[in-house]
C-alpha cells in the first residue's frame, strides 16, 4: 500500500517521539504540469529516511538534502524546482512543470 498523507504525518509524530529530528516538506504552489498537487507532503528524519512525495520522484533527493539542513538549523526554507533549472538546484522536473516546496522543522 502506498503511504497516505495521514500515515505520513503519523510517522512524523512517531519519529519525533522516538527522538528523531524531523522535517516536513509540503508542495505549496504548482505551475504547468506538476506531478503532485499543492498540499502533497514528504516527511524526512535525521537518518535521511523519507515517506511520501512532492513530485514523481524527480526532486525528492534534493528536498531530502535541504531538509537535513532545516532539521539542523531549525529555519524554514522555500525551494523552487522547474524545468531543467540547473543553475538553482541542479535538478528539474522532466514533466515541464514548476513547483515550490516549503520545508519546515517539526517540533
Amino acid at each position: 500500500m502506498l503511504n497516505r498523507d495521514e500515515d505520513i504525518l503519523q510517522a512524523a509524530e512517531t519519529w519525533q517521539k522516538q527522538g528523531h529530528g524531523v522535517a516536513l516538506a509540503t508542495v505549496v504552489e504548482t505551475w504547468g504540469s506538476a506531478p503532485r498537487p499543492a498540499g502533497s507532503s514528504l516527511v524526512i528524519n535525521d537518518d535521511g529516511t523519507f515517506l511520501g512525495s512532492v513530485s514523481g520522484g524527480c526532486v525528492e533527493g534534493a528536498v531530502v538534502t535541504e531538509a537535513l539542513d532545516v532539521i539542523a538549523n531549525g529555519h524554514p526554507k522555500m525551494l523552487e524546482f522547474g524545468v531543467a533549472d540547473e543553475t538553482a538546484w541542479n535538478v528539474g522536473l522532466s514533466c515541464g512543470g514548476t513547483i515550490r516546496v516549503f520545508v519546515e522543522k517539526v517540533g
Binding site: 498523507d5 504525518l9 505549496v28 498540499g39 516549503f102 522543522k105
Partner: protein, 233 residues
C-alpha cells in the same frame, strides 16, 4: 510545524474531521483551524471555498501570502452486497486509498474466503451501518440487486449525505426502485442523486470492468468541478 500542531492535526484526522493548516510561508508562522471553528475564523470564506473543492492553495490577505493546506478526511467506500462485482471493486478502491467495508447479511456471500483482507459485516444494513459512521466523505454503493437489502441501505446513505450514491440495475429496475423509495418516504432530491445504472458508460461487461466503471464514476464525483461532473454523468 510545532509538535503540538502536528498532534492536533493527526487527532482531528483520526476522528475524520476536516482540518486546515494556515502557514505564512515568509516566516513559517502557523495555525490550525478545526472544522467547528471555521465559521468564526477571519479566513472563513477562503477556507470554506478550498474545503469544498478539497484543494490546498495560496491566498493573499492583507499583503500576506498564506498557504491553506486542506486536510479532508480519507474517503470511505461502503459496499452493500458481497457479490462478484464487489470482489473486484474492493481491491481497486483500496489501491485508490479508500477505507473499504463490505456489508451483506447473506453469509454464503459474505465469507472471508471470498473477501480476504476486506472488513466484512454479515449483518442487515440496520445493524451493520450505524456503527460505520457513514458521512459526507463516504461513497456508498448498493449492488445486491435485492430490494430488502439495498433499499434500507440507500435510505441510510441519504440521511448521511454521502458524496456518491450508486445502485446496480437497469433503467427499468431503477424506476421501480425509485417508486419503492418514494413509498418509504425518500425525498425526490435524494432519489435523483442515485447513480443508476451504476458506473461511467464505458461498455463494461465483466464484474472487474463494472468495478472500474464504478470507481471512475466515484473519482469523477469526488474530483470534478460541478459543471464538468454533469457532463461526465
Amino acid at each position: 510545524m510545532k509538535l503540538e500542531t502536528l498532534r492536533e492535526l493527526n487527532a482531528e484526522r483520526a476522528a475524520r474531521r476536516p482540518v486546515i493548516i494556515v502557514t505564512d510561508t515568509s516566516n513559517g508562522e502557523q495555525r490550525l483551524v478545526k472544522a467547528k471553528d471555521i465559521p468564526s475564523d477571519p479566513l472563513r470564506a477562503e477556507i470554506a471555498t478550498q474545503l469544498r473543492m478539497g484543494k490546498s492553495a495560496n491566498v493573499e490577505v492583507g499583503g500576506k501570502k498564506l498557504f491553506l493546506n486542506v486536510y479532508a478526511p480519507t474517503a470511505k467506500l461502503v459496499i452493500i452486497g458481497a457479490v462478484h462485482i464487489s470482489q473486484a471493486l474492493a481491491p481497486i478502491a483500496r489501491a485508490l486509498d479508500y477505507d473499504v467495508t463490505v456489508v451483506d447479511p447473506r453469509t454464503a456471500f459474505a465469507s472471508p474466503e471470498r473477501f480476504p483482507d476486506v472488513p466484512l459485516i454479515a449483518e442487515w444494513p440496520d445493524v451493520a451501518l450505524p456503527p460505520l459512521n457513514v458521512d459526507h466523505y463516504t461513497a456508498f454503493v448498493a449492488v445486491t440487486h435485492d430490494p430488502k437489502i439495498d433499499d434500507p441501505a440507500l435510505l441510510h446513505a441519504f440521511e448521511r449525505d454521502c458524496f456518491y450514491v450508486g445502485a446496480l440495475g437497469s433503467r427499468k429496475t431503477h424506476a421501480k426502485r425509485a417508486d419503492r423509495l418514494r413509498a418509504l418516504g425518500a425525498k425526490e432530491v435524494d432519489i435523483a442523486r442515485i447513480h443508476a445504472p451504476i458506473g461511467l458508460p464505458i461498455g463494461a461487461v465483466s464484474p472487474s470492468e463494472i468495478a472500474v466503471a464504478i470507481m471512475a464514476e466515484i473519482t469523477a464525483q469526488l474530483r470534478l468541478p460541478p459543471k464538468e461532473k454533469e457532463q461526465a454523468a
